[in-house]
Amino acid sequence: MSTVFPQWEVFVRARRGLDHQHAGSVHAPDGETALRAARDLFTRRQEGVSLWVVPSNEIVASDPADVGALFEPAADKAYRFPTSYELPPEVDHM
């Protein structure tokens, strides 16, 4: 019976001031080991200044089947965008 370590999703902050971004995953027995593995795997070329690891099975994801219900209602709300307001040229930089 072989031992299988849990999978962790890795998020890397590339520079101060930027969000953490998903980079990939590692397998590790615990969070500390996962962090070290993530450091070795995803920041060998100075790609990061901060790391998060999250157990993959703790991620709650939206269902692709719900894509219509979740995301399409946002499609016809042009009034949320500045471009849908026509203003006189004198103040159009607003």
Binding site: S2, T3, V4, Q7, D30, R45
Partner: protein
Amino acid sequence: MNQAHFDALIEADERIEPDDWMPDDYRNALVRQIAQHAHSEIIGMQPEGEWITRAPSLRRKAILTAKVQDEAGHGLYLYGAAESLGTPRSELLDRLHTKTQKYSSIFNYPTPEWADIGAIGWLVDGAAIMNQVPLCRCSYGPYGRAMVRICKEESFHQRQGYQIMLSLSQGTPEQQAMAQRALDRWWWPSIMMFGPPDSDSPNTGRSMAWGIKRFTNDELRQNFVDATVPQAELLGLTPPDNALVWNAERGHYDFGEPDWDEFARMVRGEGEIPDVRIGVRRAAHDEGDWVRKAAAAYAGKRDARSAA
């Protein structure tokens, strides 16, 4: 409905993501291809890894260590992409260890001389990059993203290999001869890395239609020859192919027919090296079993302690 949605995404050159519905054949073809790619990275560490302890300068030792380390990393990126299709890494490794899944047969050639390390970087990694760059646009999102990362990291692999060949070809007569021997050994195997001729590649059409593959084997092979011949000339080395000649009309090099029987033998895993490669891999896995058990047991104890 599902199929239509999938087809529409492929048609629009959109990406398929892990949770999307996909045809079983698409999923299976991807798992097979990505796993084989991952296995190749992991097994490919061995022929080069053998030279880390013998590298002839500290700089070369550092470069080679970093390269072999990258290969482990690339294997891990790829196993991650394959896992997103629902097959755990442990199962993929079992398939490698039991020889039910293959790795690239290029790693079943021996590396008897230091110049082989140069030739592998220049030719094998060169061919691999040519194969891999189009995969960055693979229709399956996680595979494409892993390939973007890999291609970015791998660009130094080919350059360091060519630089080794350059040093050798500008070196002592013995070094020059060593470089030519390595080219002689690796030229044809590299040409064959693009797979069988299109006329004999039954899956190419389907893989192209699905956006898993973007160019045919023969197209990539021609690109490789066209790019590599001038590089060999610059080294003052001669590829072992009498039929190699510039065809001005086509705007490409004509080249000879590889020994496809040898290719078939290598793909079947004939010879002693495949057993050595899998043996090393399995031994590492088996001998590491108690370590992995210890780490899992410790994590369990710690969870229990923090819950108490």
